[in-house]
């Protein structure tokens, strides 16, 4: 049971505190409700570029990192389709340094042509390192636009293309800040050696004076229902052919979410999962398989990915995968299998809530979903899923007409 308190500052900033006396550290997490889905289609990658710029100094503080390191702290951040999330941990003695740094960069950044140019090159190198210079690195750039035709989930957070980043200007960046970075669009969460009173006092002191801002309205067109199977086949200079499939599913706060999460675990949870046990161990068709739920705020995906063994025909492999999917639609899972995935879920939840940084991140995220109590109660939602619900969800979502498939074929002469 994780205890926490919640309060809201006058400027709209939500604050959550979990006191944990087992550690001399405090974790501080700030979630901004802005992600790559808030970008313009011709200016993608901006939310992520912006995350980099958040470390280039703010109104009153020339550099973010050195003062934090001087206080014994460490930090990082990530950007996904929905959110931009910043986090740090500090020895409790120097906790106030965290408040000082984070509130100042919420107040405003020190954006200059110079530091934008540098961070653009850094992000371009990141793009190359992770998406171009890696085997299979471009697969999300193929699968997403095949799956989403309208919704901005059709591009990955790094952006559609290097040119979008390379041509971003000071004006684009600064406009983005004021439309999305604001106390009334953020959630601050704390976990560790801090009392709720201290959190209240320091939040008011440092974040209180940051003014509320007019936010750009989220104006996202929902993705229309997919009615026809979509396929794409590409030839690439990789040693091993791979298969990817994606099905549209529900949003994170939909009640089907838990069923789908459980269903994905039946397929791909551990080596006893159906995919590994049939496709790798029994039939030797794939060298590795995985399936996961993207857990996006707007309707997301169930994605399958697998790499083929030598001399396996991709259509034969796909057929075997489809048989496993079909089985879910015809036969409810046995009680023992249901119990297994629930046990796994329980352990995973306990592990995920066992460190202060995870707790702080989870609290902020659940608050964004509208209910921080989920940090304790989500497991019950998961345990309520019945075998019939799994079957129904498989029938409802895992249809060929709702599916997009990428054949990622090795051009080195193998089948």
């Amino acid at each position: 049971m994780i205890k926490f308190e919640v309060f809201t500052l006058d400027n709209g900033l939500k604050v959550l505190v979990n006191q944990d006396l087992s550690t001399p550290l405090v974790a501080m997490n700030i979630l901004y409700n802005v992600g790559s889905k808030d970008e313009d289609p011709d200016r993608t990658g901006l939310a992520h570029l912006f995350e980099h710029l958040m470390f280039s100094g703010s109104v009153n503080i020339p550099e973010f990192d050195p003062p934090l390191q001087l206080a014994g702290g460490e930090n990082n951040a990530f950007t996904n389709n929905d959110i931009t999330n910043y986090y740090l941990t500090l020895p409790y003695e120097n906790l106030e340094t965290g408040f000082w740094l984070e509130s100042d960069r919420m107040l405003g950044l020190n954006l200059t042509e110079g530091n934008i140019e540098i961070q653009k090159s850094v992000v371009v190198e990141e793009f190359k390192q992770r998406y171009i210079n890696q085997p299979y690195g471009d697969v999300m750039h193929l699968l997403r636009p095949l799956t989403y035709k309208i919704h901005p989930y059709k591009w990955p957070p790094i952006g559609v293309d290097i040119s979008h980043i390379a041509t971003a200007s000071l004006e684009h960046v600064s406009d983005f800040f004021f439309s999305h970075y604001a106390p009334n669009n953020a959630i601050l969460s704390l976990s560790g050696k801090i009392t709720p009173d201290e959190a209240y006092r320091l939040s008011n002191k440092w974040f209180g004076p940051v003014e509320k801002r007019e936010l750009r309205k989220k104006n996202i067109t929902p993705e229309p229902e997919q009615t026809e199977e979509r396929k794409l086949s590409v030839l690439r200079n990789v040693p091993v052919t791979a298969l990817y499939k994606a099905w549209h599913v529900c949003k994170r706060t939909d009640e089907d979410f838990y069923t789908l999460d459980l269903l994905t675990d039946i397929l791909a949870g551990g080596e006893s999962g159906r995919l590994y046990s049939k496709l790798v161990r029994e039939k030797g068709l794939f060298s590795e398989v995985n399936a996961w739920l993207t857990s996006d705020i707007d309707p997301g995906l169930v994605i399958f990915q697998g790499r083929l063994m030598n001399n396996v025909d991709i259509e034969v492999a796909e057929q075997s995968l489809n048989e496993i999917i079909d089985e879910l639609k015809h036969k409810e899972p046995e009680t023992k299998e249901m119990e297994k995935v629930k046990n796994r879920y329980e352990s995973a939840t306990v592990i995920s809530n066992s460190g202060i940084l995870n707790k702080a991140m989870n609290l902020a995220y659940y608050e964004l979903l509208g209910n921080p109590e989920l940090i304790n109660s989500e497991i019950e939602n998961f345990c309520r899923v019945s075998p019939e619900m799994v079957k129904e969800s498989a029938i409802k979502y895992l249809n060929p007409s709702n599916c997009s498939t990428v054949y990622y074929i090795s051009e080195r002469g193998e089948k």
Binding site: S22, T23, P24, N60, I61, D65, P66, P67, Q69, L70, A71, G72, E74, N75, T89, L90, P91, E93, N94, E96, T97, F99, W100, S103, E117, I118, Q119, S121, V122, V124, E125, E126, K128, Q129, N133, Q134, P135, Y136, P209, N237, P239, V240, G270, G273, S277, V280, R281, G284, S287, E288, N310, K336, K340, N343, R344, E346, S347, A348, V350, S354
Partner: protein, 426 residues
Amino acid sequence: MKEVLNRKEAPPVREIDPGNIPEAQSFKLENGIRVYLIESGNEELIRMEFTFKAGQIKEESPLVSTTTNMMLTEGTENYTADQISSEFDFLGAFPNHSADKDTAGFVVYCLNRHVENILRLCREVLFSPVFPEKELDILMKKRLRLFQVNREKVQNLASDKFFESIFGESHPYGWQVSENHFTGISSAMLSDFHGKYYTPENMAVIVSGKIPEELTKLIELHFGDLSHRVPVADGPEKKPAGSNDRRFRIKKPGAVQSAIRLGKPTINKRHPDYPGLKVLNTILGGYFGSRLMKNLREEKGYTYGVHSSLSSLNLSGFMMIATEVNKNVTEKAVDEILKEITRLQNEPVGRSELSVVRNYMTGEIIRMFDGPFALAESFKAVWDFGLDNNYYYRLLEKIKTIEPDEITELARTYYKTDELYEIIAG
């Protein structure tokens, strides 16, 4: 009245107190197996690690130690591979295999209420594996596929070559794997390796978390009956020896970035100079504000990241600077790295930079002991070398007291640029 905030001025930084590092409670089973218990955490959760001196250093040819380790869960006297994974999954346990250069083992995370069943299963996989042919065949095919994919990555090409050149192509620390190794592994080789090195004498159990009262008894019950075996006499210690050539270029057609690996073998954490070298390494490239990050990333935009690491092995140690850079600036990046090392050899580190590094490193040490998982890893990191928490206290003391002159001296002694190996793939 409302307090006026002066945002220009940082809140005062107070001295950080790392306090005492929790000690492990240790005891021996009747048959000599060593057990260490580290009490920590709020959740009914433990991490159990079974570690053996059965790493790559013990193998006669590549892949034997890693394959032996991975095959532990692929079939035993009483269970098939499927039954083993079903059992672990059903108990909500997350097992992890590991086989490194010196040690190999098995780590399980599980809820306390399943601990007895988990121990029974761990005993089975650690001491009764049968290395079935069919599973071995699938595993080797899988591993070959993964190997083929990894060999497409410039960072792997560069790292593999780096270890080969600093430790030698015929030493287990350095030898490279090639495709034909994947077909040369037999069940008998693995059985033999397992019989020699996965023995009670060669094993220790490290448990951390909220330790259930009955755990000691349960470990005794499931592992205490293993009979003592005559230890295998190790041959003469295999001394690693680097190659004479120090510069290698690996061409990777189509690459848009080059991977750079620069470094050399050096002392390990048993050496008295090691804590000081840790400080030097941090300044150079061991944290986000390091000189290399500032220069190559934040000033020049050559790379997404550059890191320098200092690592210990039982028979050696090594320092390695690693980065992937825009292909067009490869040579410039190497020059800048060398320039930063030379600067550390010639100019004393400034006071304010040194304060940042002192405090950052002290914070890191606190993070290294925060929570049951971190505690166990930090314990093992010194225990493997026959050391204890005194190592960390010495390190803390050095962090606090090291002077700029000493850093310069260390850079001159240990980071001689003409001794560096330089590998570039791309």
